[in-house]
């Protein structure tokens, strides 16, 4: 068994002089200040103790103490606590050692701050651009506080991302920026030898919108949940809940019990919807459109239910800091139970036909293989990890909302392939339905919202993890002075899972590319953190290329 104290003591014993301070505002959170030059050794030690890399958070603190901070966070899932290694480097020369050579899951976090804060990570195996556009000037770092949120640097022509070297004897197949297997603009360069995949380079973040920057400079605490909800079209409530919980933790805001139950209810409805959606997409990606159509037909009832509960099919707009906005009436409660019964019955039929379909087994078993050790190394999350024998589920390991009072199983299989992911997600549908029933039965009476009356104290750190349907989302908040977060970092589940895609693709057939990428249920917009705007007026107009360029550069 690990405990906060034990981890702290081990680190202090080993790296006494490099640990400059620590705090533990909650029994489940440990903040350790460390010297930047020892970050690699200390991180390795934390991982050796059983920590799982969550995310790195860079933040600009130059105006206060001249430093740029980099916080690496690690979750201890068996013992329910999270460790933060808080390192700082001077803003004039922000160089620190990279931890990626030992912890590959940190690769993107470090590259992100290389782009956004101008940090340098010594020893990073692939220090290429990740987030900013190819023509973005090399000396402007958008997440620094002195850069205004609406800055538009001049565009440049003929600047292109340099792809990784193609292995000898292989040819490049471009998947993207637009491809039917991807529902969002991203570019995979797949290196194939005949039909066998020998490598892959990824260039994403093509529609980066800068939500974090916007929310740190323009809006107030309780406006952020609505923007957070629009990070993803599928797990919107997850982001709103995760953000709200992070602020509540940082500011010590109590949340009424009933609100916590309603949050859990929304999260489970969202999970039901997302699992059925993914099942359909997975069917489509292997050319099995009947699965696609049938599971989306079942899913449609959940969309209608959501509309009756919240007024929206998706993007519920229910969760804000301090609670939720609408109550669940007894009539709606009955309605929910009725829909659940119907969905359960129909999912059972789909489940049965899928498990009996040998052709489907052929396309999914052994495909996208990644061993458990590799999966741990890449810090995979969600059903992708649970399909590889990693028994993690934030709802159970780091309970939030009402989950500590509810009973549920965490399905884990060890087939290490796409089939396992499919099984896990199917079984989770039943767990979600059982959770919804428990929530309706146990929901206490009372208030649903704590009004924010007092000011939230500045420079407090809050981190919250929420199990989204496709894995855990991490939100990190540093509170600020002007009634808005000073730093808000979002890490969606696709962020770690996507990093492991090249490893999953290796030596598979190109025909399996769509389903392997699809198996992590990639939400590129979650990593991009962009917004998709729908035309509501119903009037259509074809925009010229120059017009699109004009608005895409920040003008409206």
């Amino acid at each position: 068994m690990n405990s906060l104290e034990k981890v702290l003591k081990t680190l202090q014993d080993k790296f006494g002089a490099s640990i400059t301070g620590h705090a533990s505002p909650l029994p489940t959170r440990l903040f350790i200040n460390i010297k930047a030059e020892k970050v690699r050794e200390i991180s390795n030690e934390v991982v050796a103790l059983g920590g799982r890399y969550l995310v790195g958070i860079g933040h600009d603190n130059i105006a206060r103490d001249g430093n740029i901070g980099m916080i690496h966070t690690f979750g201890f899932d068996k013992d329910n606590f999270i460790v933060h290694l808080n390192a700082a480097v001077p803003g004039s020369n922000p160089v620190m050692p990279s931890i990626t050579p030992d912890i590959p899951g940190a690769g993107w976090s470090e590259r992100e701050y290389q782009d956004l804060l101008g940090m340098k990570f010594e020893g990073h195996p692939k220090p290429k651009r990740l987030v900013v556009a190819d023509d973005w000037p090399a000396d402007i770092f958008p997440m620094r506080k002195e850069v205004p949120y609406n800055m538009v640097p001049p565009a440049a022509e003929d600047v292109a991302y340099q792809l990784d070297e193609c292995p000898e004897g292989c040819s490049i197949i471009p998947v993207g920026p637009f491809h039917t297997a991807l529902h969002e603009p991203e570019h995979f360069a797949v290196y194939v030898d005949g039909e066998t995949i020998k490598g892959c380079d990824y260039r994403g973040f093509m529609t980066h919108r800068g939500i974090e920057k916007l929310c740190e400079s323009q809006v107030s605490y309780n406006e952020v949940p609505f923007i957070a909800e629009r990070i993803c079209g599928i797990c919107g409530s997850v982001h709103a809940t995760a953000y709200s919980q992070a602020v509540e933790m940082a500011g010590g805001i109590p949340v009424p019990k009933r609100a916590e139950y309603i949050r859990s209810l929304l999260l489970e409805i969202e999970r039901l919807h997302s699992h059925l959606l993914w099942l359909g997409v997975a069917g489509h990606l292997i050319g099995f459109d009947t699965v696609f159509m049938q599971s989306w037909r079942v899913r449609e009832q959940i969309m209608w239910l959501s509309e009756r509960i919240t007024g929206n099919r998706k993007t519920y707009g229910m969760v804000i800091v301090g609670g939720v906005r609408r109550d669940i009436t007894p009539e709606i409660g009955e309605d929910i139970l009725k829909v659940c019964a119907k969905v359960e019955e129909e999912v059972k039929i789909i489940h049965k036909s899928i498990t009996g379909d040998t052709a489907l087994h052929k396309r999914t078993k052994g495909v996208g293989y990644l061993s458990k050790e590799e999966a741990v190394k890449w810090s995979l999350v969600g059903p992708v990890a649970r399909a590889r024998g990693i028994d993690i589920d934030v709802r159970r390991d780091h309970p939030y909302a009402a989950y500590s009072e509810l009973q549920f199983n965490v399905p884990v299989v060890d087939t290490c392939d796409v089939w396992g992911t499919l099984v896990v997600r199917l079984l989770e549908i039943y767990e979600s339905i059982s959770l919804i029933r428990q929530i309706i039965a146990k929901m206490p009476k009372g208030e649903i919202l704590t009004e924010l009356s007092e000011e939230i104290p500045p420079l407090k750190h809050g981190i919250s993890v929420v199990e989204a349907p496709r894995g855990e989302s991490v939100h990190f908040v540093i509170t600020g002075e002007e009634n808005r977060p000073d730093r808000w970092r979002v890490r969606a589940p696709t962020y770690p899972n996507l990093q492991a895609i090249p490893a999953m693709l290796l030596n598979d057939q190109f025909a399996d590319f769509p389903i392997i990428v699809g198996s992590i249920d990639p939400c590129f917009s979650c990593t991009d953190r962009v917004e998709v705007v729908n035309i509501t007026s119903g009037r259509k107009r074809v925009m010229s290329k120059s017009e699109i360029e004009f608005i895409s550069r920040g003008n409206m």
């Binding site: 491809h179 039909e195 990606l285 050319g287 099995f288 159509m293 052709a359 057939q509 025909a511």
Partner: protein, 299 residues
């Protein structure tokens, strides 16, 4: 007077092939709890495509390929003894000619894809070629089982061998094999590997648009109807009445039934990978060879 049979052949195939495609789409939709497009949607599709701008991205081969493909399948149709009536062209060709002409249809898809020099088209072309090489033997064996029985490679003699000499074990085995290869012949799931929308974006046809694409589409539909009608003519010729028009009507009904099978199998299977498909075809070829062997010994 003989020329009438050929014209009837061509008209019936051209008129009915899109209808059968429409039936497949409608049935697939029903399996998927969808409304589905109207049965005559494929006609609309063809008309729409024919009226669109013709984008040429390759050299003259790119333009020639759809015409070649369409011409090849039309020639095959001319030889077909639809309504159990051989026409005067039938005697000028044998089953080898049919196999060659069908191969030419495949080759023209290949040429079009290669001249467009698109990565996805190349990939689709190589898959198309593998499928062609592996499936063609099954078709050839189908003819040879009959040919061995009647000691002739003539089209009408071979195709009517079952009608004239009755069923044998070899024929029954071949019939099962033909059904197993049917989805590959017609390029439907689980063997729509060469087009595979989610992987290689319609493969060989990715650069085609407008009238050129319409021709390809039309020749695919004709090819599908040819394979369905071949099954009906060779393996289930027992509803022979002797009245030409009635025979054609009966055959069309039977073809529609074959399409029902195609639609149902297509709607209930995912697409296989090319390596998995090749293994499957290999088994079919070996079994088809043994069917011919059985036929040689008159079993």
């Amino acid at each position: 007077m003989d020329i009438v049979y050929i014209v009837v052949n061509i008209i019936i195939f051209l008129a009915f092939a899109p209808l059968f495609e429409g039936i497949v789409r409608k049935l697939t939709a029903k399996v998927q709890s969808r409304q589905g497009p109207p049965v005559i949607q494929p006609y609309y599709d063809l008309i729409k495509l024919l009226g669109k701008e013709n984008f040429i991205v390759g050299n003259w081969v790119f333009k020639l390929a759809p015409l070649m493909s369409f011409a090849a399948i039309l020639s095959v149709i001319c030889f077909v003894p639809l309504g159990y009536t051989a026409n005067f062209l039938t005697q000028y060709a044998d089953v080898i000619t049919i196999i060659y002409l069908l191969t030419m249809g495949g080759v023209s898809i290949l040429l079009g894809a290669l001249s467009s020099r698109n990565t996805f088209a190349m990939m689709g072309a190589s898959r198309e070629m593998v499928t062609m090489i592996m499936v063609e033997p099954v078709l050839a064996m189908t003819f040879f089982v009959g040919a061995v029985k009647v000691k002739s490679l003539g089209i009408d003699a071979t195709i009517f061998s079952v009608m004239n000499t009755g069923y044998s074990w070899a024929v029954l085995l071949m019939m099962v094999l033909y059904l197993m290869a049917l989805q590959a012949f017609v390029g439907k799931q689980p063997f729509d590997i060469a087009e595979a929308e989610q992987e290689i974006l319609e493969g060989p046809f990715i650069e085609y648009s407008g009238p050129n694409y319409a021709l390809f589409k039309y020749s695919m539909m004709l090819k599908q109807m040819f394979y369905a009608s071949l099954f009906v003519m060779v393996f289930v010729p027992f509803l022979y009445t002797g009245v030409y028009a009635l025979d054609i009507a009966i055959q069309l009904c039977e073809i529609a039934l074959v399409y029902v099978v195609i639609a149902l199998v297509g709607a209930t299977n995912p697409r296989l990978r090319i390596d998995q498909a090749v293994k499957y075809y290999a088994v079919l070829i070996v079994l088809a060879l043994s069917a011919v062997g059985l036929s040689v010994y008159g079993i």
